[in-house]
Amino acid sequence: MGLLSRILGLGQPSSKQVAKDRLQLVLIHDRVRISPAQMEALKQELLGVVSRYFDVDTAGVEVTFSQHQRENRLVAEMPVLPEARRQKGR
């Protein structure tokens, strides 16, 4: 990356930012000791349970960890379809 574009903040993110992002991601899995595959399985099971009560917009489901200091929280976001659309869908 050229000096000018670096000064202007254009182009690729800095290697430091890439390192930080990669570390934050890998550490979440290290800390809670869960593999990406297990995470996907958890997401599917959660979705299965929640779907018994609501119509869930599966495209918008996100299961992640949020971190505050060294505390990790499981955060599941599942968009629930409104009643009207639910009725129609039936």
Partner: protein
Amino acid sequence: MGRVITVTSGKGGVGKTTATANIAAALAAQGHKVVAIDGDIGLRNLDVVLGLENRIVFDLVDVAEGRCRVRQALIRDKRTPELFLLPASQTRDKDALRPEQMVEVCDQLREDFEFIVVDSPAGIEGGFRVALAPADQVVIVTTPEVSAVRDADRVVGLVEAAEKGPALLVINRVKANMVRRGDMLGPEDVQEILSIELLGMVPEDEAVVVSSNRGLPLVMDGAHPAGKAFSDIALRLSGVEVPMTDLSDDGSIWSRIVRFVRQR
């Protein structure tokens, strides 16, 4: 009663032995009675970094197994009379010592010393557990690199699980020019990721290599940036508040310009 400070890292080669030698020497130079213990059994190095390798008779394993008294194994540094070394055994392996034995040896030393600084082997196995067992305070050394920080994070977790936390963080080999151009994690990034208190940051400094060539800890040998950093770390460990040195200010023309502009 002396305090046991264990220096550890997870990943090898990040500067544990360098940090142990310099923190111990700095504490001694600041007037405390200090013993440095080499917990890296089978791969002893603290003796050569401190320049005391020629005077070893007994070692840590001899003490633990009762072949000598702890005082007989201690080597006094003639240049800094308040500094002593308890060397590791070179002929035994990492499993030669059990955690309880290390605790026992340290408890004897607590009576005579203000600070007991323990160097750990790399890794998170037996030797790490032995070095961790007597600790009142754990210091985790890392470099600002992805793999070292990842391993440090693992150690932070293990230290907490062993109820030896919270650990303090030393970031070693910081290259100011790389941080400045966005090619190295800065101390604030590493500290944010690991979420433990920063004890100090140490710049990359050729004088570290020269000092280990000579067996003369940096802090004994004039004003080098890394030596200053270790002296500040030692002061902080003994409860003195010392502001962090801004490592981006490396005396270069560029950093002088930055400082000039910031002061406007």
